[in-house]
């Protein structure tokens, strides 16, 4: 059918940061559904705790130190992550490259400590339901940790190539930082469920 020009878009920019960019919304969407997964797993855990007079079912208490160290590392990592997000928004290449390297390392560090968390649970997944849930929760978060660290490393390499200096990339860096906040945030309740709820019963 006939058309009449009504709006001119030629002046619009070719990329945007944060809520202006679809990728940010996509990341949010995946956070929503993964967060739902975390919530349901935690819900299942709490459901089982209510069924038994003494949760932990006569298993030894988990050793919380490795977990606590991971928690601290993650919280610390939020600071450089924030700066990284800001310099990405301003499309500054040097601080972004530096920040990405730092974040890759700060991602690997908790992952290394995470290795010692599993034995520190003091129970195996096949001993009883309590052990199963601990391993499930820890495993669930570990997969997120691994995927995001992998993503960060790939992106870091990318930022050092010629593909780096484009608005899209800076947008990706911003979204990656955004997702890292999510990974840290989801860990806090899981940390409490794994290491401190068993100490109540």
């Amino acid at each position: 059918m006939n058309q009449r020009p009504a709006v001119d878009l030629s002046g619009l920019p070719t990329f945007g940061h944060g809520p202006r960019s679809p990728t940010w919304w996509g990341t949010l969407g995946f956070m929503a559904l993964e967060g739902m997964g975390f919530a349901l797993a935690a819900g299942a855990y709490l459901y089982l705790t209510t069924l038994w007079p003494t949760w932990r079912l006569s298993a030894p208490v988990p050793d919380h130190w490795p977990g606590t160290i991971v928690t601290l590392l993650l919280i610390v990592s939020l600071v450089p992550n924030h700066f990284l997000a800001r310099s990405a928004k301003q499309c500054r290449m040097v601080p972004v490259r530096a920040g990405m390297v730092v974040m890759s390392l700060l991602g690997l560090a908790p992952l290394a400590v995470r290795w010692f968390e599993f034995p520190a649970l003091n129970i195996y997944w096949d001993t009883n339901a309590y052990g199963s849930m601990l391993w499930v929760l820890l495993g669930l978060h570990t997969t997120h940790l691994i995927t995001d660290v992998g993503d960060t490393i790939v992106l870091t390499v990318l930022m050092f190539t010629r593909h780096g200096c484009s608005g899209r990339r800076f947008g990706d860096v911003g979204d990656n930082a955004f997702y890292w906040d999510f990974v840290v945030l989801t860990w806090i309740p899981i940390y409490l469920l794994i290491y401190w709820v068993p100490r109540l019963g």
């Binding site: 059918m1 006939n2 058309q3 009449r4 020009p5 009504a6 709006v7 001119d8 878009l9 030629s10 002046g11 619009l12 920019p13 070719t14 990329f15 945007g16 202006r20 960019s21 679809p22 919304w25 996509g26 969407g29 995946f30 929503a32 559904l33 993964e34 739902m36 997964g37 349901l40 797993a41 299942a44 459901y47 089982l48 069924l51 038994w52 079912l57 928004k89 301003q90 499309c91 290449m93 040097v94 997944w125 096949d126 001993t127 009883n128 339901a129 309590y130 199963s132 849930m133 391993w135 499930v136 992998g150 790939v154 990318l158 593909h163 200096c165 484009s166 608005g167 899209r168 800076f170």
Partner: protein, 658 residues
């Protein structure tokens, strides 16, 4: 709305300054569509957006219409397979003590019927319709995250093929589509049958979650200029709400199936009451997904009804706002009534009564929808064409299903009919009446847009009456036989209970209903080959998908339309206002603001790529082997990581670079 406030001034300003101070590659530029004549514009856009020829080109396509067509065809094939399952079961049940099919096969049959219809037909086909129509209806050039969209199809396909190959190998799940533990658990389900169920779920949920996210972002960020929230077509609203329900419901079943496979494969005790687990936990998780699932299937259908009625009632739908609000209300409430599937498990009385109330409550927004549609008709005699016939069928059947649903919501009453053929009748009235009939109407309504040809009206009417009569003959008597005490999921029944004649009658109806789909398939083929040319807008409908040619070009719209009314084509009969200024040499589409749909960004849409297919193969293989050993996850991580990196790594196409 004037064009002045549409061209937003502020956004670019800040952005230019940002990019000025940042270390950015110099802005590339290319030819724009401004002032370009139509032929030249078509040449450019076709070259830019087209799907490359050849098998690799086809496999790399990221065109939402191409992907959607594949989805639709695949889902229709699965519908026929699931239907054949049903026919086989009905033949076995057509008389007491029939020996045609033994329990082992029968249990696989009804499980595959449920699994196929729910996970391989119903959800994929409503999402596929959305993949095709939503970008057109919001006036965009492609769906958001087109590669994710392609990936979702390949994962869905591999999941379905996986399930059906297992069926051919006599290792299909035989524990029901709900796969309750302990029956599906490690002790009572030897072999890999239950694992096939669990992993098939994971495949299909991954794909529908991906589609849901893509749909949400398309609706929120890629709407044509001026399509503010109050001007979004109801069908798009329905898909938006559905996608949100998917995002929050599907994880529940993924968690459930993962717990199950962990129990079976590595010996966790999540569902083992002897070691601190609990069997009911599975039911809670499953139905927390399972009930919203019904609305995931039903809400898009209401969107189709809302799209078809105005066209044949020749007026905008009555109570647009009310319909939107009730869509949202249904979306929310659907999470509050999963327990009414578990009344017979002996839950505390008070809790059960609460879920009675909430289950009753959801009938109110659904009632609002029904009343608004009815009111839309009251201006005059509507134009009766096949799509509208199916909508009428929807009213007749779905209202019965909804009312029997009210019966099931009552705890005591449910205890008599739960897990009987009454329930079978109820949810077939809801799902077939509430979803399949609108889908068939939608098929007749949008087939001209998709294929460029009309479906035969005469065959259409025959199809409708055959389906309508067959359906009611097959499913209405089930209410009765259920009340006479016939439970679900039985492969046979004793003669002395006197269920023989009525079951014979039901089977006859079921076969009639199946034949109606054979007729439909013929009509589709016939229409695609010999149908009368449709033209752009055969029904004189009002929404944007009818503004472009049938079938739409790869780039959907030569120029992005500007929306001034909820039924833009009715409001702008002489000339459609359009936006200009997009580049034509790269895949550039318009990103607009969430609420007001102000033009905001000219963003590049991803170019075709084979990597989504490779990633799907890697992911699918990982899922497949993870039913044999947990280590598959570890081995599989490598190919998955490689393919995903290949997917995201820029290959020098301007879409990646600029």
């Amino acid at each position: 709305m004037s064009s002045a406030d549409l061209a937003s001034e502020r956004a670019p300003a800040t952005e230019r300054q940002a990019s000025a101070e940042g270390d950015l590659a110099p802005e590339h530029d290319g030819p724009r569509d401004t002032g370009m004549d139509d032929a030249m514009l078509h040449g450019w856009l076709a070259r830019t957006w087209g799907t490359a020829p050849g098998i690799v080109g086809a496999l790399s396509s990221v065109d939402h219409k191409v992907i959607a067509r594949r989805y639709l065809i695949t889902a229709f094939v699965f519908l026929c397979l699931g239907g054949l399952n049903a026919v086989a079961m009905r033949i076995q049940l057509s008389g007491p003590q029939r020996g045609l099919i033994g329990p082992d096969l029968y249990n696989q049959l009804f499980t595959m019927h449920g699994v196929t219809m729910m996970f391989l037909f119903a959800v994929p086909i409503v999402q596929a319709t959305g993949i095709y129509l939503v970008p057109l209806m919001v006036g965009s050039r492609n769906i958001a995250f087109p590669r994710l969209n392609a990936f979702s199809y390949w994962v869905y396909l591999s999941g379905g093929v996986f399930a059906w190959i297992s069926f051919l190998l006599n290792m299909a799940p035989d524990v029901g589509w709900f796969a309750y533990v302990p029956l599906s658990g490690p002790e009572f389900a030897p072999g890999k049958r239950a694992d096939v169920w669990a992993q098939m779920i994971t495949y299909t949920e991954v794909s529908s979650l991906a589609v849901a996210v893509a749909t949400i972002v398309t609706v929120l960020k890629q709407r044509a200029p001026g399509m503010s929230l109050d001007k979004i077509p109801l069908y798009v609203w329905a898909l938006l709400v559905t996608s949100f329900v998917v995002v929050f419901a599907m994880p529940a079943v993924m968690i459930a199936s993962t717990f199950l496979i962990l129990d079976r494969l590595v010996g966790t005790h999540i569902f083992n009451p002897a070691e601190g687990g609990d069997a009911l936990l599975f039911q809670h998780l499953f139905w927390f997904f399972g009930h919203p699932e019904v609305y995931i299937i039903f809400l898009p259908a209401t969107g189709m009804v809302s799209a078809i009625i105005p066209v044949f009632a020749r007026r905008p739908v009555f109570g647009h706002l009310g319909l939107v609000l009730s869509l949202i209300a249904v979306g929310f409430l659907s999470f509050g009534l999963w327990v009414h599937h578990m009344f017979a498990t002996g839950l505390p009385r008070l809790g059960a009564s609460f879920f009675t109330a909430s289950s009753m409550m959801i009938a109110i927004p659904n009632g609002v929808q029904i009343f608004c549609w009815l009111a839309t008709f009251w201006d005059g005699r509507p134009v009766i064409r096949t799509p509208l016939l199916f909508v009428f069928g929807f009213f007749v059947i779905f209202v019965i299903g909804g009312l029997t649903g009210v019966m099931l919501a009552s705890v005591p009453l449910d205890l008599q009919v739960h897990d009987t053929y009454f329930v079978v009748a109820h949810f077939h009235y809801v799902l077939i009446g509430g979803s399949v009939f609108p889908l068939l109407g939608a098929a007749y309504f949008w087939f001209p847009k998709i294929s460029g040809r009309m479906l035969s009206e005469r065959l259409g009417r025959w199809h409708f009456w055959l389906a309508f009569i067959g359906f009611n003959a097959a499913f209405f008597p089930m209410h009765l036989v259920g009340l006479w005490g016939m439970p679900r999921r039985v492969y046979t029944y004793p003669a002395e209970l006197g269920w023989g004649n009525i079951n014979l009658f039901i089977s006859a109806g079921a076969i009639l209903f199946f034949l109606s789909f054979v007729l439909f398939a013929f009509n589709l083929v016939h229409g695609a080959l010999k149908g009368a040319p449709a033209g752009d807008n055969p029904w004189d409908a009002g929404t944007l998908e009818w503004a472009t040619s049938s079938p739409p070009p790869s780039y959907n719209f030569a120029r992005i339309p500007v929306v001034t009314h909820v039924e833009p084509l009715w409001a702008e009969r002489e000339a459609l206002p359009v936006a200009t200024g997009l580049r034509v040499d790269v895949r550039e589409l318009l990103i607009s603001t969430v609420a007001e749909a102000h033009p905001d960004i000219r963003e590049k849409s991803a170019a075709p790529s084979i990597w989504p297919l490779l990633a799907a193969v890697a992911v699918g293989g990982t899922f497949l082997f993870s039913i044999f050993t947990p280590w598959a996850i570890v081995w599989g991580a490598a190919p998955v990581a490689i393919t995903l990196t290949g997917w995201f790594w820029p290959k020098g196409a301007p879409e990646d670079e600029e």
